[in-house]
Amino acid sequence: MAVYERTYRRYDGALTPERRRVLAFPRYAIDEVFRSKLFLALCVVFLLWPLAIACILYLPHNLGFLKLFQTDSATMSAIFGFDAKFFYNWLMKPQTAMAFVLTFVVGPALVTADLRNNGLALYFSRPLSRTEYVVGKASILVLLLSAVTWVPGLAVFGFQVYLEGTDWLRANWRAGLGIVLGMWIWILLLCLVSIALSAYVKWKPVARLSMILVFIVAAGLASVMNLQFRTDWASVINLGDMVHVIVASLFGVPPSIAVPPWAAWTSVLLTCGACVWLLARKLRPYEVVS
């Protein structure tokens, strides 16, 4: 089927291994999203945050800075309080917000374009399962969000270990665990929710609106209910807070909401289950009206 011949010929060359084919999704999508100036700007800004934290961590070890305040490294570290709580409050919390913003920008565009023009029939007429499709699409978000959250977060944690030594690591190892595991939980939740909502509404602006409803309006509603009923239990509908409860338990710091971790896990797992159910119903090449 060479261009100059204009005749049809079958393909009899080598094929890629089946499991590697889903990697085409992130390759194409990353190429696409980095064409967006807004996305690029957000990525740069979000990467500046861990850099700023790293600078703050370095200050107690900078001789000029110590001389300026006429103090020593140990005193300064004690003043700043660089422990798991510091990482939770100053690294983890802002990064969860950043991850949400990036998902808000990228997530709905991943699936709606396929669903709006019957693109799923093209995918699923090839050796590609629905699970692989979702994994392929989610891998785009996982890669992008990892690059601006737990990967630089872990680098900052490693930098602190380098500056403070193994004693500090022994005392605060849960911060490292929390950064990686906590952010993975948040990223997977964001992926599932954004893809499921996009699959359900099939329209990018509405998908974004529904993300606001699920994450922000629900949080506002939970706050109102908490105030009204003088409880913290309404927070179970606030996915952000529930992830913070889980992450706080991983960091070993007290959460700001009086909801036990098991309740937070239940809320998150139920949400994930609902998303999987929605995906199973909506990600079909053709909808059947019984």
């Binding site: 089927m1 060479a2 204009r6 005749t7 079958r10 085409a24 023009n117 019984s290």
Partner: protein, 309 residues
């Protein structure tokens, strides 16, 4: 050698509605036409063979692979051109075709090469860097064909490929399908309600009615079997002329006051007809060798009950 498509008591239900009822048979043709009125179950059959719908009972096999258990293997062998618009918004044609080729297993470099070739082949070479949503309806149909063939399938499912095409584009589409079938050694299953399209491309026809097989016929064999079928237009006493040729042993049927069709038995030739016509002062204005057209076969299938293979 296994049949191209083997239907083994295949039934499909959507809720309480039975869409396909116990379809049985083997389809071996190079190009199989799938015909039927709207709602007969053509698209459902194609979708079931693709694994989009689960079979309620029975099964089907494509090149020996069971659609219930070997969907992945089947999808590796087929190309599918859906009936409706199917593309991914925001993508250029070459990028879309390349992505689909990669998902079918072609390495990125080969996928890019094949994407360019496929688009040139279907006549979209000059427009391949345009976004698909900006294409006309005819161009979108051609992109779907490129998507179906880019990975070099063994069997092509074409669902209403000429839908919405103007006559030149329709001709071009049918020509491409014929080329792919003949030069590329690809089996084609063409689902359509346009009899002419099927007649031009296919050598076997499966006609569905109400989810059942109404008729299955080998068009080539039909063409052979009906070679002595003659349609005659006359001026004069048609009835007397018909009776006379009937006495000679011809089977005939009057189609109107000036038209009849007949089958010549062994030993009777056309000159005998002219002779009788001259004797009875009947003018033969037109005489055509004809075979049953697909339209005749289709209409008969719609009137008669079950067919079967």
């Amino acid at each position: 050698m296994s049949a191209v498509i083997e239907l083994d008591g295949l039934s499909v239900r959507f809720g309480r509605r039975t869409i396909l009822r116990t379809l049985r048979g083997q389809l071996n043709g190079r190009a199989i036409g799938l015909l039927g009125p709207n709602g007969a179950g053509k698209t459902t059959l194609v979708h079931t063979l693709l694994g989009f719908h689960a079979a309620a009972e029975g099964t089907a096999r494509i090149f020996g692979h069971d659609v219930r258990t070997e969907t992945r293997a089947i999808r590796a062998l087929i190309g599918y051109m859906p009936e409706n618009d199917a593309f991914i918004g925001g993508m250029t044609a070459v990028r879309l075709v390349r992505l689909m080729a990669e998902l079918s297993g072609l390495p990125p470099r080969e996928a890019l090469e094949r994407a360019h070739e496929a688009l040139f082949y279907v006549g979209l070479g000059e427009a391949r860097y345009r976004r698909v949503e900006t294409y006309s309806l005819g161009m979108k149909q051609m992109v779907k064909l490129a998507l179906a063939i880019v990975h070099g399938p063994r069997l092509l499912f074409l669902d209403e490929p000429t839908n919405g095409l103007d006559p030149p584009h329709r001709r071009r589409m049918l020509q491409l399908i014929r080329e792919i079938k003949e030069d590329g050694g690809v089996h084609v299953m063409l689902s359509s309600h346009l009899l002419r399209d099927v007649e031009e491309v296919c050598d076997e026809v499966l006609i569905l009615r109400n989810g059942e097989i109404a008729t299955y016929c080998d068009l080539e064999a039909e063409r052979q079997a009906n070679r002595k079928f003659i349609e005659v237009e006359t001026v004069g006493d048609n009835v007397v002329f018909a009776e006379q040729i009937g006495q000679m042993g011809c089977e005939y049927a009057l189609l109107g006051p000036h038209k009849l069709k007949l089958v010549l038995p062994e030993g009777i030739e056309v000159r005998h007809l002219y002779q009788i016509a001259a004797d009875r002062a009947v003018q033969i204005r037109r005489l055509d060798y004809r075979r049953d057209s697909l339209q005749d076969i289709f209409l008969r299938a719609m009137e008669v009950g079950h067919g079967g293979l």
